[in-house]
C-alpha cells in the first residue's frame, strides 16, 4: 500500500470537507433562487391584498397572510412570557436537584415531539375538550406549546451569558433577588432573548402540521373577526395549491411560496444579524 504524505493527505481531506460543505450550502441558495425567479412575476399589489378567486387559481392570498399573522402573533404573545419566566427559573432559581433534571429532560423531549403530534394534541385538548373549535386561538395555543422549549432554551442561554459578577454587585447593595433579575440581569439578556423570539416567530410562521386540524381552513373568503374564527394560513395554502388543486397556474404557487419564504427568511436574517451585532458589541 502506498502511504500518502501526511501533508498531502491533509490537503485532500480538507478539499473533500470543503466540497461537502458547499454541497450543503449551495442547494439552500438554489432553492431561494428558484422560488424568487419563478415567483417574482406573481407578486403584484392585487396578489398581496386580494381574495382568492376561481377555486384558488387566481386572485390574491390576503386571507392566508392575515391568517398566518394572527395565529403567529397570538402564539408568540402566549409563549414568550411563559418561556422567559421558565428560563429565569431554570437559570436563576433552580437548584441542581431531581426536579430540575426532570424539567430539563421534559424540555428536551418537548422539543423532540413531532409537529403532527402537537397537532393531534391541540385537536384533542383545545378543539375538542375545551371546545374552542378549529380556530386561531386553538392553533396559536398548539404552536405556543410547541415553541416553548425553543424559547426557554434560547432565553436561558441569554440569561446565562450575563456575568455572575453583575448579580453579585446588585445583591451586595441589598437589592432583592427578583429586583436584581428585573433590573440587572434581564436588560442585559434582552438582545439574546429577542433574537430567540424572532427566530421562533420565523419558525412557527412556516409550520403546517400543528395547525392542520386546529386552525387552518381550506378556503375562507373573508378576514377573521375574532380569535375563534377559522382562518386560511400561508403554509397550509401552499400545501393545498401545490398538491390538491389540478391545473394550478405555476406562478401563483411559486408566488405563494415566495411570500412565505420572504416572511420567514427576513425574520431569520434579522435575528442572525442582530445576534452577530450584539455579540461584537458586548464588552464582557
Amino acid at each position: 500500500m502506498i502511504r500518502l504524505d501526511p501533508k498531502r493527505s491533509q490537503n485532500i481531506a480538507f478539499a473533500i470537507l470543503l466540497i461537502v460543505t458547499i454541497l450543503i450550502i449551495v442547494p439552500v441558495l438554489l432553492i431561494i433562487g428558484v422560488i424568487v425567479k419563478e415567483g417574482y412575476s406573481a407578486i403584484t399589489w392585487e396578489f398581496l391584498t386580494g381574495m382568492p378567486k376561481d377555486g384558488m387559481r387566481g386572485g390574491g392570498i390576503l386571507p392566508a397572510i392575515v391568517g398566518t399573522l394572527s395565529i403567529v402573533t397570538c402564539a408568540i404573545c402566549i409563549t414568550l412570557p411563559i418561556g422567559v419566566l421558565a428560563a429565569i427559573y431554570l437559570n436563576e432559581y433552580a437548584k441542581d436537584n431531581l426536579l430540575t433534571r426532570i424539567i430539563k429532560l421534559s424540555i428536551v423531549n418537548l422539543a423532540g415531539v413531532p409537529s403532527v403530534v402537537y397537532g393531534l394534541f391541540g385537536l384533542g385538548l383545545f378543539v375538542m375538550l375545551l371546545k374552542f373549535g378549529v380556530s386561531i386561538i386553538a392553533g396559536a395555543l398548539t404552536l405556543s406549546i410547541m415553541e416553548l422549549p425553543v424559547i426557554i432554551t434560547t432565553s436561558r442561554q441569554a440569561l446565562n451569558s450575563v456575568p455572575y459578577s453583575f448579580r453579585e454587585a446588585s445583591l451586595s447593595l441589598g437589592v432583592s433577588r427578583w429586583q436584581t433579575i428585573a433590573h440587572v440581569v434581564l436588560p442585559n439578556a434582552l438582545p439574546g432573548i429577542m433574537t430567540g423570539a424572532i427566530l421562533s416567530i420565523a419558525r412557527i410562521s412556516g409550520e403546517t402540521a400543528p395547525i392542520l386540524f386546529t386552525a387552518a381552513a381550506f378556503y375562507v373568503p373573508r378576514l377573521p373577526h375574532s380569535v375563534f374564527d377559522q382562518v386560511m394560513a400561508l403554509p397550509y395554502h401552499l400545501y393545498i395549491i401545490s398538491t390538491q388543486i389540478p391545473n394550478m397556474p405555476k406562478n401563483i404557487t411559486y408566488g405563494t411560496a415566495l411570500v412565505l419564504l420572504v416572511m420567514v427568511l427576513t425574520m431569520s436574517l434579522t435575528a442572525i444579524v442582530t445576534r452577530y451585532y450584539f455579540r461584537k458589541r458586548k464588552k464582557w
Binding site: V28, I31, I35, I82, Y89, V108, V113, G206, A257
Partner: protein, 288 residues
C-alpha cells in the same frame, strides 16, 4: 408591598418552570386516552404487526406495519446520506474554515433550518421528483428515495450545528498535545478531535434522526403516500406522520379511525421520546 409582589412573581416563575413537565405529561396522557380507546376494540399486536391499513373499508383494517416500514425506510435512507455529510461539514466549519467564511457558512446552515418544510416539500415536488423519475426510469418519482434525499437535507442543520458544538468543545490541550508531537492538523482531527467529540456527534445524529421521523409535510408531499410495505427504495411509501396528517381531517370524530390515528401518534411519541432520551444522555457526557 414590594415584598408581596416579589413573592408573587417568584411563585409565577416557579409555576412556569414546571410547565414543561406539565405539557409533556399532558401530551402523553392525551395520546394515551385517545389512542388507548382504540385498543379496547382492536388488539395492540395486530395494530403493530398488521400489514394492511384500510381504515375506511368494511371491515376496516388498522395494521400499521406498512407505515412503520415507510417511516423506517425513509429515515434510514436520510440518515445514511445526512450523517457523513453533516459531520464532515461540521468538521470543516469548526476546524478548517477561516473566521470570516465560518460565519457565512453558519448563517447558511441556519437559513436552511428556517425554510419551512412545506416549501422544501414543494421544491422537492418540482425538482427532485421529476429528476428521479427520469434518471431511474420509474413510473413515478414520488418514492422513498426522493423523500430520503429531501429529509437528509432537512436534518442537516440539526446534525451540523450540534456536531459543530461538540467538536468545538474538545479541549485545546488535546489538540496542542497532538500538534506538538508533530501530527498534522488533519491527523489531529481524525485521531484526536473526532474520538473526543464522539458522544456529542452521536447525540447530533440521534436528534437528526428524531427530526426525520417526525417530519410531516415534506414527506407527505414527496413520498407518494402508498400504504404498502416497500419492496425497494424506489417504491412510493407512506410514513406514520403523513398518515395522521392526511387522514385526520376526514375522519369522523370519536370513530375507530380517529382513535387509530391517535394510537399512531402515541407510537411516534414513544419513539421520539426514546431517541431524545438517548441523545440527552450523550449530551450530558459531553458537558462533563
Amino acid at each position: 408591598m414590594r415584598k408581596g409582589f416579589d413573592k408573587f412573581i417568584e411563585k409565577a416563575i416557579f409555576a412556569c418552570g414546571l410547565l414543561a413537565i406539565v405539557f409533556v405529561a399532558l401530551i402523553f396522557i392525551f395520546l394515551l386516552i385517545e389512542g388507548g380507546s382504540f385498543f379496547k376494540e382492536f388488539s395492540f399486536l395486530s395494530f403493530l404487526s398488521g400489514k394492511y391499513w384500510y381504515p375506511t373499508s368494511t371491515p376496516a383494517q388498522f395494521g400499521i406495519l406498512a407505515l412503520i416500514a415507510g417511516s423506517f425506510v425513509v429515515t434510514l435512507g436520510a440518515t445514511v446520506v445526512a450523517v457523513p455529510l453533516g459531520v464532515m461539514a461540521a468538521l470543516y466549519i469548526a476546524e478548517v474554515a477561516p473566521a470570516g467564511i465560518k460565519d457565512i457558512l453558519k448563517s447558511g446552515v441556519e437559513l436552511l433550518a428556517a425554510i419551512p418544510s412545506v416549501v422544501i416539500g414543494f421544491i422537492g415536488m418540482v425538482t427532485i421528483v421529476p429528476l428521479i423519475r427520469t434518471t431511474f426510469n420509474l413510473s413515478t418519482g414520488l418514492s422513498a428515495f426522493s423523500g430520503a434525499l429531501m429529509l437528509a437535507f432537512m436534518a442537516m442543520p440539526t446534525i451540523v450545528s450540534i456536531s459543530e458544538d461538540a467538536i468545538r468543545a474538545v479541549p485545546w490541550a488535546y489538540k496542542e498535545g497532538a500538534l506538538a508531537l508533530g501530527a498534522t492538523k488533519w491527523q489531529t482531527m481524525y485521531r484526536i478531535v473526532i474520538p473526543a467529540a464522539l458522544p456529542g456527534i452521536i447525540a447530533a445524529v440521534m436528534l437528526g434522526i428524531g427530526r426525520v421521523i417526525g417530519e410531516t409535510m415534506a414527506v407527505m408531499m414527496i413520498t407518494g403516500n402508498a400504504a404498502a410495505i416497500p419492496q425497494s427504495l424506489f417504491d412510493p411509501v407512506r410514513t406514520m406522520t403523513a398518515t395522521i396528517a392526511a387522514e385526520m381531517g376526514e375522519t369522523v370524530k370519536e370513530s375507530s379511525h380517529y382513535h387509530a390515528l391517535f394510537a399512531i401518534g402515541l407510537v411516534l411519541f414513544i419513539i421520539t421520546f426514546t431517541i431524545n432520551f438517548i441523545a440527552d444522555t450523550y449530551l450530558r457526557k459531553v458537558k462533563k
